[in-house]
């Protein structure tokens, strides 16, 4: 299946928005492991994922055409 990756803040400097084709990834935990292998800088950082319009709090199933956001710690205000 295909998912859309979007990235923010510091992370947007080394992960561009992109569509990725994933075959054996079914949930956000598996996606995290995949991302940290593909983008080693990510494994040393604090970050959260969003899935469509929700922040991921626990491991969640991913479906075709989902949008996953990769978000470093917030610094608004």
């Amino acid at each position: 299946m295909e998912i859309q990756i979007i990235s923010f803040g510091k992370i947007s400097e080394f992960i561009a928005h992109q569509k990725i084709e994933i075959s054996d990834i079914r949930n956000t935990d598996e996606l995290k492991a995949y991302l940290e292998t593909s983008f080693p800088l990510l494994s040393n950082m604090k970050y959260k994922l969003s899935l469509n319009k929700d922040i991921v709090q626990e491991n969640t199933a991913i479906s075709n055409q989902d949008t996953v956001g990769i978000m470093p710690p917030f610094s608004g205000g």
Binding site: F8, M71, G76, G77
Partner: protein
């Protein structure tokens, strides 16, 4: 239950005149007795010998507005407020300029004061907004809320 998600984002700095106008609009609401305002201002911090000239704010807007909507509903549940207004800048805000404006109003002073402080805390912790500190020499670093 109303599902109108309000926009909180403003391009560029928040002008004092905009704040004055927002205050003025409340003079017709004569059950209000107290207003509380918090404003965030960009600091010219010195970091390793370099001065911050501006902060460039970006956000995951869709998610931020959704989250702010939840915060708004929680706050109205918890405090007897008449009004609540929140504005956050996007784009480049120079040191000395205002990038955040939170405004609450209630019949007595305490709910407005407590709600305003709580909104600021939650907004900083929960909204996907990022500030890039741009130094005077055009290098940058990403801010992190403590």
């Amino acid at each position: 239950m109303e599902r109108k998600v309000k926009n909180i984002f403003i391009d560029g700095r928040i002008e004092p005149a905009f704040i004055a106008e927002s205050i003025s609009k409340h003079s017709v609401k004569t059950t209000i007795g107290g207003h509380s305002i918090f404003m965030g201002q960009v600091r010219k911090d010195e970091i390793e010998g370099k001065l911050v000239a501006a902060i460039e704010y970006t956000a995951y807007q869709e998610l931020a507005l959704e989250k702010m909507h939840q915060i708004r509903e929680d706050i109205f549940q918890k405090y007897p407020l008449h009004c609540m207004h929140v504005y956050h800048s996007l784009g480049t805000i120079k040191a000395g300029e205002i990038c955040l404006f939170v405004f609450t109003s209630s019949t007595r002073r305490k709910p407005a004061i407590d709600a305003c402080a709580e909104i600021v805390e939650r907004l900083k912790a929960e909204l996907p907004i990022w500030g890039k500190e741009i130094f005077e020499d055009d290098t940058h670093q990403w801010k992190e809320n403590s």
